[in-house]
């Protein structure tokens, strides 16, 4: 892809990332960190792409290890965040 387009996407994403979490009460710091942590588990997509392109056993082995780790990161991250947030549901006022 054209480098300028990528740079634009990157810079705009930085601003969006800054904006969406600019004001968060400390109560939500932990779930927010955990949720953001789960989102970067989307590296799973990258791991699947490299596994698809793997030709040698070494490449495949490393890619599969990456898939296992990325799946743990993504799925585990969302589940644990949900469990934390479940605790807040009784507090609706």
């Amino acid at each position: 892809m054209d480098a300028m387009a990528i740079l634009s996407i990157f810079v705009l994403s930085v601003f969006v990332g800054f904006e969406v979490v600019s004001k968060v009460s400390s109560t939500l710091h932990t779930p927010l960190m955990s949720g953001a942590n789960a989102i970067h588990g989307v590296i799973l997509v990258g791991a699947i792409i490299v596994a698809d392109h793997s030709e040698t056993n070494l490449e495949l082995g490393l890619s599969l290890a990456a898939i296992v780790l990325a799946t743990i990161n993504m799925v585990g991250g969302f589940v644990v965040t949900d469990r934390m947030l479940e605790m807040f549901k009784g507090q609706k006022k």
Binding site: H29, L32, L58, G77
Partner: protein, 469 residues
């Protein structure tokens, strides 16, 4: 599936991540936000299986079904089998270290992906691609090893105090310089051996970088490493030609950086001080200074009597409450006091426990009404009119050393000023200092009474003693 459709779905997933972060920033929408994020991630993963990736990082275009499909699905299944039960079964008290571990494996995954890319980068690879790949290897490895150390610190597999080694700053600076130097070599030489050296050096740097961070600062570092992992994902997205990875990774990198600052602010710490404070502080070891000074310890009955005649009581929960799983018992005590007409509030320090917001989560589990949880800034001015402050398994967050002892690890952290209350009760397991490892002068204060034992059994005794009065 056409490239356009694939990219559109990727964009939808990117929007889902933005909505997820936005939702997670507000209590009412947080849970829905998380679900939206999970939906986006699931969608992004699913769609890869229906799209033959074009030639990337020197590889030929692939076709459907994906090569190695069985292996890929098998590996995902293994990840699910490990990840889901770990997340489901973990105790609330161990949540922070699990998040650290999840962050570490994410960084490890990004590093592995980059290593595979690197093995294939042919002569037609652009310099930018090589640089981004090498960047991902470095930062992914740092995030991995650093997160493992934070995990070990929180799990108490190693000391939670800052680990300081001789000439630490210089060792760390030298390691960083060699990482950058070898990184440059790897970019220009394109060899497997230099890459392995680079990975090993990066892992070492991650360890050295986190070792000097101790006590309550550990969560801040987890958040920082989380932002690092985000950036590696964005860099992988560039090499793998995936807009989604660029968006998702950059979002996490940016919001993680802001979050790290917010967390540091909540503790009154500068980020720089958090990371390198251990080396600059005039390291002073309080242990051995005051070990055998007298303290006033009481029985559950003494505590109950004190509470029975109080008009206002502030409960200050800490990590000990979480360890003992005493959140339901403490609520019982609070309800009992309220029924006797005593004004009861919980004073919540933003970083009590092992993570910001830990106490809110824990007390919410016991259905403590939200309006009884009072944040630090609001509760501090009221301690002067408080008859009894009950500190349950907390230590550092009420330690006056944060105000009076420059150079101690928590100096400058805002604390709950329980010393202004007429009486202070500490429920503690032992005289051991808190997570930051510093002596608490308040324990020796004449108006302090200590009740030793597990928080849950102590509270149960106090409840029955108070009922009997």
């Amino acid at each position: 599936m056409s490239r356009t459709l694939y990219d559109l779905i990727g964009l939808a997933a990117g929007i889902a991540f933005i909505l997820a972060l936005k939702g997670l920033s507000h209590p009412k929408t947080a849970r829905r936000g998380n679900l939206i994020g999970a939906f986006g991630a699931g969608l992004a993963t699913l769609v890869v299986f229906f799209y033959a990736s074009p030639s990337v990082y020197g590889k030929a275009e692939s076709s459907l079904p994906l090569n190695n499909l069985g292996w890929i699905l098998g590996a995902i299944a293994v990840g699910l089998i490990i990840g889901v039960p770990a997340a489901r079964r973990v105790q609330m008290t161990q949540m922070p270290q699990l998040v650290a571990l999840f962050n570490g494996v994410g960084g490890g995954a990004a590093a592995l992906v980059a290593i595979v890319e690197y093995l294939n980068l042919g002569s037609e690879a652009t310099t930018a691609q090589v640089v981004f790949t090498v960047f991902t290897v470095i930062v992914g490895c740092v995030s991995f090893s650093g997160s493992i150390i934070t995990f070990m610190k929180l799990q108490e597999l190693m000391t939670s105090r800052p680990v300081i080694f001789p000439a630490g700053r210089f060792v760390i600076a030298a390691t960083l310089a060699s990482v950058i130097g070898v990184g440059g070599w790897v970019v220009s030489a394109l060899g497997t051996t230099p890459l392995l050296i680079l990975a090993a050096l990066s892992l070492l740097f991650g360890v050295l970088f986190v070792l000097p961070v101790g006590g309550a600062d550990v969560p801040i570092v987890i958040s920082l490493l989380n932002a690092f992992t985000g950036l590696t994902v964005a860099a992988s997205g560039y090499v793998l030609d995936s807009v989604l990875l660029i968006i998702a990774g950059t979002l996490v990198g940016a919001s993680g950086t802001i979050l790290t600052r917010l967390m540091a602010d909540a503790m009154g710490r500068s980020l720089f001080g958090t990371l390198f404070g251990a080396f600059t502080a005039k390291a002073q070891d309080a242990s051995g200074v005051a070990e055998d000074r007298p303290v006033r310890s009481g029985s559950a009955d003494d505590v109950a009597i004190l509470l029975n005649y109080a008009r206002r009581v502030v409960i200050v929960p800490g990590f000990g409450l979480a360890v003992a799983q005493a959140q339901h018992t403490v609520r019982e005590l609070a309800d009992l006091m309220i029924s006797k007409g005593i004004d009861v509030a919980y004073g919540i320090h933003p970083v009590a426990g092992r993570m910001p917001g830990h106490m809110n989560v824990l007390l919410a589990e016991a259905n403590v009404p939200y309006d009884q949880l009072v944040e630090m800034d609001e509760v501090n001015p009221t301690f002067g009119q408080t008859d009894v402050a009950i500190v349950i398994g907390a230590n550092d967050v009420v330690n006056p050393a944060a105000k009076t002892t420059p150079g101690c690890p928590i100096y400058g952290m805002p604390i709950l000023e329980v010393s202004n209350a007429a009486n202070i009760i500490f429920l503690k397991r032992s005289m051991r200092p808190g997570f930051a490892g510093i002596e608490n002068e308040l324990l020796y204060d004449p108006k302090t009474m200590l009740l030793f034992g597990d928080a849950k059994s102590s509270l149960t005794k106090v409840v029955s003693a108070l009922k009997a009065l």
